[in-house]
């Protein structure tokens, strides 16, 4: 569906009018040594093809080879100096969002290290400038502007959900709280609005873990959404503002670091793409950014959280490396280390770590919804086969996007697995110290 974004966030459909001047402006702005070199040195060797899940899932059709996709889109736009037809733009739209999750796996296999995902992102920016954005992404953009988060969650709803989850979590851990807007806390915990809207237990579980670990943390009531779908929509200016809102809140509260929930692209935005988008020329966030995988690993390593040996999981477990956490943020070992504490039978996928395949739901694919569903599930065949080969019964992933996609793949390919987050695993297996055990639980134990 074609969606035109106009000021104020109202969306209407109409035929595409190519604004060549605007495309040239974007081309000129990005026509640095980097893009020029990448486009000119690609030798069409095809090594990137085998790395791409779309290529593998579509019977090795050369049309899905990353090098082809980028030459067909950005390469042609540069050659034609922006003078392209509406039909061609539509094709670019289709390739940029429907045939690439910007997972960056192909860059690892390119002998020249060409960053194809960045060039596909540029194609998305060009499409966005012409009003071409998948509806699912376009619908979130006004929400970022109006509510400060992608799902239009009001401040009142956030606070109410936190209160609700504190009440629930208190059944398991005494004295549990979700501190809001606490200046000087160690971590500003930023979350995915999906947690408030669809999965509030995630907040409750985080509160339990942080309370047991004795952490100093806070959730801000603004700038709390660490996701950045504007980044995937090609709306770079808005994407920068979204990331900057979070940085500014962290500076205002004077926290030591921004802690990212179990979300992949939130790490990509906050940790290493957001700074550029927000105009920090050194590419570093003004406040250090830490992902939950890292912190949870440190808790276990340092003994702040201890696992009950009786609760260690016997069922075979595998780990889904989210592209933006493992490959792109370098946190592939931390997740595995956590699983060593928690599971008795860990089985890695092959390939794994930074070479792991994207689940097929990244790059904005899941929020793009129904119109892209068929292609998403087809692309996920590679991941489904990887999981099946491990024989695992539990798939752990520290990414909301992977979580949803794996649940869909579980049904589509009849995998018979349970998908869990690290928080779920930790809450199920950790030891709650005696002084934090709820009073009623103590009474029951005594009676029993």
């Amino acid at each position: 569906m074609l969606v035109i974004i106009v000021p104020g966030g109202v969306m209407t459909e109409k035929s595409i009018q190519v604004n060549v001047e605007k495309i040239r402006e974007i081309l000129d702005k990005n026509n640095g040594a980097r893009i020029r070199t990448w486009l000119s040195i690609c030798s069409r060797c095809g090594l990137c093809a085998e790395s791409c899940l779309f290529y593998l899932a579509n019977d090795r059709n050369p049309r899905f080879a990353p090098a082809y996709k980028v030459q067909r889109t950005l390469g042609t736009i540069y050659k034609k100096k922006g003078k392209v037809t509406p039909e061609f733009l539509m094709e670019c739209y289709d390739i940029a969002w429907g045939e690439c999750t910007t997972c960056k796996r192909c860059s690892l296999f390119c002998p020249f290290g060409i960053d194809i995902a960045s060039m596909i992102s540029l194609v998305r920016t060009i499409c966005y400038s012409q009003g071409l954005v998948p509806e699912g992404l376009a619908r979130t953009l006004p929400n970022y502007e109006k509510f400060g988060n992608q799902m239009a969650v009001s401040k009142e709803d956030l606070i109410e959900t936190c209160e609700w989850m504190v009440e629930e979590a208190a059944d398991y851990v005494k004295g549990v709280t979700i501190p809001l807007d606490v200046a000087g806390a160690r971590y500003m915990y930023t979350i995915n609005p999906r947690e408030v809207m669809f999965y509030p237990q995630d907040l409750g579980m985080a509160a339990q873990i942080f309370t047991v670990a004795g952490e100093s943390w806070t959730i801000p009531t603004s700038g709390w959404d660490s996701t950045n779908l504007a980044m995937f929509a090609g709306a770079n200016e808005l994407a920068g503002a979204v990331a900057d809102r979070m940085y500014k809140k962290a500076l205002e509260l004077g926290v030591e670091a921004i802690l990212i929930t179990e979300c992949g692209h939130a790490m990509r935005s906050a940790g290493y793409e957001g700074p550029y988008l927000a105009g920090y020329r050194n590419g570093r966030p003004p406040v250090p950014v830490v992902h939950s995988v890292q912190l949870f690993y440190e808790y276990l390593r340092d003994g702040k959280i201890q696992i009950d040996p009786a609760k260690r999981i016997d069922a075979p477990v595998t780990y889904q490396d989210p592209c933006n956490v493992s490959r792109n943020a370098g946190l592939w070992e931390q997740g595995r280390e956590i699983l060593k504490f928690v599971c008795n039978d860990f089985r890695d996928m092959s390939p794994n770590r930074h070479y792991n395949h994207c689940c097929g739901g990244g790059g904005g694919f899941i929020p793009m919804g129904g119109p892209f569903r068929k292609r998403r599930l087809r692309a996920g065949r590679v991941k489904a086969e990887q999981i099946r080969k491990t024989g695992a019964k539990i798939v752990v992933t520290p990414c909301h996007n992977c979580y949803d996609q794996l649940n869909d793949l579980n049904k589509e390919y009849d995998l018979g697995v349970r998908i869990v987050s690290l928080k779920e695993l930790l809450v199920e297996t950790m030891i709650v110290p005696d002084h934090l055990k709820p009073d009623s639980a103590g009474d029951e134990r005594q009676e029993g």
Binding site: G136, G369, D404
Partner: protein, 225 residues
């Protein structure tokens, strides 16, 4: 008219105040002085009572009752609706008819409707509210329910039901036994089963939950609370 003891509005046709139980009808042949004395005592007692009870309890006394009826849009909810209507009449409560359009993808703004998967637009909600109004208002037999509100949201049904119950501070949630996730098994009323929604709501709700499985089940707030 206003109650001379607590100031609460006494509905027309009622002979006593619903808040403090003061009877506005005088005892036959009661002298004016005796009545005034009795009124003065009642006022003092009410003041003392108001001072004693904490603010929250006072709010509870003053607040209007609310019944949250949750429908899955299947016939399985009809018995629950009948029970909710009777209860609302019985305790002069506001009846909130509530439906949640399920989001299949927790990330996407798409929802599942009778016409398939679509975006959660205002038009979709307006259409849904209209069909809820047409369907349920036609089902009310006998006396009308004092106050009815029809609301719809999108999301995960059990989460939105509990969120609504917390926000509205409802006195009771009334629903059928089935889950919208399992519509295929949702029609056999002779063999009621707990669906995921009913199960999670009953486990986590902040108020009593009535899962109605029989056509003539009666509910009461006093017993429920």
């Amino acid at each position: 008219m206003r109650c001379p003891v607590c100031g609460h509005n006494i509905e027309s046709g009622k002979s006593f105040c619903r808040r403090c139980a003061w009877s506005i009808l005088r005892t036959p042949d009661e002298p004016e002085s005796d009545y005034n004395e009795r009124l003065e005592i009642a006022r003092r007692n009410w003041e003392n009572l108001e001072r004693c009870i904490c603010q929250k309890e006072a709010e509870d006394i003053r607040k209007e009752h609310k019944i949250l009826f949750c429908t899955d849009l299947y016939a399985s909810s009809d018995y629950a609706f009948k029970a909710a209507v009777n209860l609302a009449r019985e305790c002069d409560a506001e009846l909130i008819i509530f439906h949640v359009l399920e989001s299949r993808h927790r990330y996407s703004g798409q929802i599942i409707t009778a016409d398939g998967e679509t975006w959660a637009t205002k038009e979709v909600f307006d259409r849904l509210k209209k069909s809820l109004t047409d369907y349920y208002l036609a089902k009310i037999e006998g006396q009308p329910v004092p106050r009815i509100r029809i609301e719809a949201r999108s999301g995960v049904p059990w989460i939105e039901i509990i969120r609504k119950a917390r926000k509205e501070k409802v006195d009771m949630i009334v629903m059928g036994p089935y889950s919208i996730r399992d519509p295929k098994n949702g029609f056999d009323l002779a063999r009621p089963q707990h669906g995921e929604t009913a199960e999670k709501v009953s486990l986590r709700a902040p108020c009593p939950v009535a899962i109605v499985t029989k056509p003539d089940q009666k509910l009461s707030l006093e017993q429920g609370a």
